[in-house]
Symmetry: C2
Subunit: 382 residues, 2 copies
């Protein structure tokens, strides 16, 4: 892991130095509780081992080469997913060499970059369009590389993906017949279902996705098309796909951090799904207090994604984050407990777009800064 | 202006090269229509000139030194505002030398950095706390610099700021009596009022803010405390504060870009406030089309801030952006008009946090890329 970067100016380039006490971290900062993070990584390693499936951890959550390499070295991951070519490029440069771009890649320059990258690492990509298959094949031939390709099916999310069954089989055949492409299986991700709070409703939606996937696999087998990868699932539902006997590669990302939104997803016994715990926080400081019961903190919309709700305040009952402006967070403090410069740990509503706002993760343990990890692929949108 | 950066890899480091056609820009990209942008800058220059007030343009909108310097050189701005010390540091390094940090700066390291910066540029800051005044004075003495200080009053926003009248006067006296600080006036910003869509309601809210400010000024004058700066106002209400005879420095930011939210704010005659036009876009590509009436584009939550609503699609009636996921935007296309790789110009709901997601502005004119401007202070949160 990366450790200290003493050439950078603290407070301008980086929010802290390795060895600093928590109170020295410049706020707002993106902080990882390393003990909780490592426990989450180990929990998922045990889950996939017990279900006898692979984990291809989703790097769109963290965009960090340090974390991706840790998930591969210690967390049972066979590789990672990412969503963009530039994200994959950033991770390959840092030594992450087995990547599924779990998305469609279109446009000539992006396809050419993907094909070149496939000469340096194992690269897998999703398709849902016949013309895109031809463009990928042409680019791989030009680059002298081989790209593995998954057919993405729409198993309920109504987003990308061809229909299960015959349309998927047609696309699989065209991939298998294309020079410099390898047909590697199916992408069957039902993103919205894993956020359904009620476990029975969630199970019903995922069961439908599993059935569509199973039917498509049967049809492909009849055609002699083997699926090395049957991929999908996220932190909210991984036990369902993982235990189905249909999926063999899970694409969970948020399990390492557990944001406020995933914290509301429960298993059948009412526990937090997977037993994961909050490990990612935005550390913020109170910057203004002009009434007894309201304070303003320094983390607003540029420090926190609010698409999945406002952040929770960790371990401070009775204090509530009630509104986010660009650079301000309004906090209700009915007990008049807070003062200027007090610090709070916020649990972001949605971890992925929150991490994308920062240049650095600050890893803390036992009250001290232990690691600074760059958000390697931050802003890599292309 | 910065122009081309040929040492950077197109598609990885930068979304385009100067001279590229629009179709070569890698998406999603943050695009400025330079003609519209320059017209907006000129419109505001005329507005403040006709009202005989200063413009201190808010750089939190764009975080770009190129744009800040253009606003000062051509747009009638006397300087800029920003919200964070690290933002101010980034701009000073690029030659922007008159900056109001229109916010409270707390915590010893941040205050020390601000005091050092005041040795290199004119630095003004807001306060709403007596202990903060003492800390600023001590730091400025240590740095051998002088910091100008505004008393922030709460004129209706219920966020930061002391109460108008006597509490503000008490704080002003303590600033005036503090070594290495200069009392420079009042910060009286009513951020939420300028987003009130109805002009009469907006006028009522701003009129109340103006009265509180006027009363406080009268009290300060009785105490012999001159206000060189009476600052506030934003794009949605600048004509009200600017025409009040009370404010002398307007802090508008979004007028250069006009996002979808400000586009809904109307003046008394029903026109867009200030006559500004949309000049900032997220250029996106269609990446998936698996049904006749729905497509998926490559700009989602990491490419667009959605806190003030989903983006509008520019100049393509009948096509609607209906949902944002992390890296996907779902688009309804009832007329079956769109195909994979088609490009759309999205008007962001909220420009400030959208700009903060990108490393580069791509300035376009006459169908070509004319400029690449770094988002100098992107991610400068501290």
């Amino acid at each position: 892991m990366t450790g200290s970067r003493n050439d950078l100016e603290i407070g301008y380039d980086v929010p802290a130095a390795v060895g600093d006490a928590l109170k020295s971290i410049q706020t707002p900062a993106l902080v990882i509780d390393l003990n909780a993070f490592e426990r989450n990584v180990e929990r998922m390693r045990c889950h996939v081992e017990s279900m006898n499936v692979r984990l291809r951890a989703h790097a769109k959550t963290h965009k960090s080469a340090d974390i991706a390499l840790f998930q591969i070295a210690k967390g049972g991951a066979c590789g990672v997913c990412c969503q963009k070519v530039s994200e994959a490029e950033a991770l390959v440069r840092e030594g992450v060499l087995d990547i599924l771009v779990s998305n469609q890649v279109t446009g000539p320059l992006k396809i050419a970059r993907l094909a070149r990258l496939a000469g340096r690492a194992r690269i897998i990509v999703c398709v849902d369009d016949a013309a895109n298959v031809a463009a990928l094949s042409n680019a791989a031939q030009s680059a002298g590389s081989t790209i593995e390709v998954l057919v993405e099916i729409d198993c309920g999310a109504r987003r990308c993906g061809v229909q299960p069954g015959a349309p998927a089989a047609d696309l699989a055949r065209s991939i298998a017949a294309s020079p410099n492409l390898v047909f590697s299986g199916l992408q069957a991700y039902h993103g919205s279902a894993q956020h359904i709070v009620d476990p029975a409703e969630r199970r019903t939606a995922i069961a439908a996705a599993i059935e569509m996937t199973r039917d498509t696999l049967r049809l492909l087998a009849e055609l002699g098309l083997e699926c090395a990868i049957v991929g999908g699932a996220g932190t909210g539902s991984f036990d369902m796909e993982g235990g189905s006997g249909v999926y063999n590669e899970l694409q969970c990302g948020s399990y390492i951090f557990m944001d406020a939104d995933y914290g509301r997803i429960r298993d059948d016994s009412g526990g937090v799904v997977g037993g994961f715990e909050h490990a990612l926080f935005v550390l913020t400081s109170v910057m203004s207090k002009t009434t007894p019961t309201r304070v303003v903190c320094d983390a607003g919309l540029k420090a926190l994604a609010v698409d999945s709700g406002l952040p929770l305040i960790f371990d401070r009952p009775g204090i509530t984050y009630v509104a986010a402006n660009d650079e301000h967070g309004k906090i209700d403090d009915p007990g008049n407990l807070l003062a200027i410069d007090d610090r709070l740990f916020l649990v972001p509503g949605h971890c992925d777009p929150t991490c994308n706002l920062y240049d650095w993760f600050v890893g803390v343990r036992d009250g001290k800064v232990e690691a600074l990890w760059p958000v390697t692929a931050r802003g890599k949108l292309y």
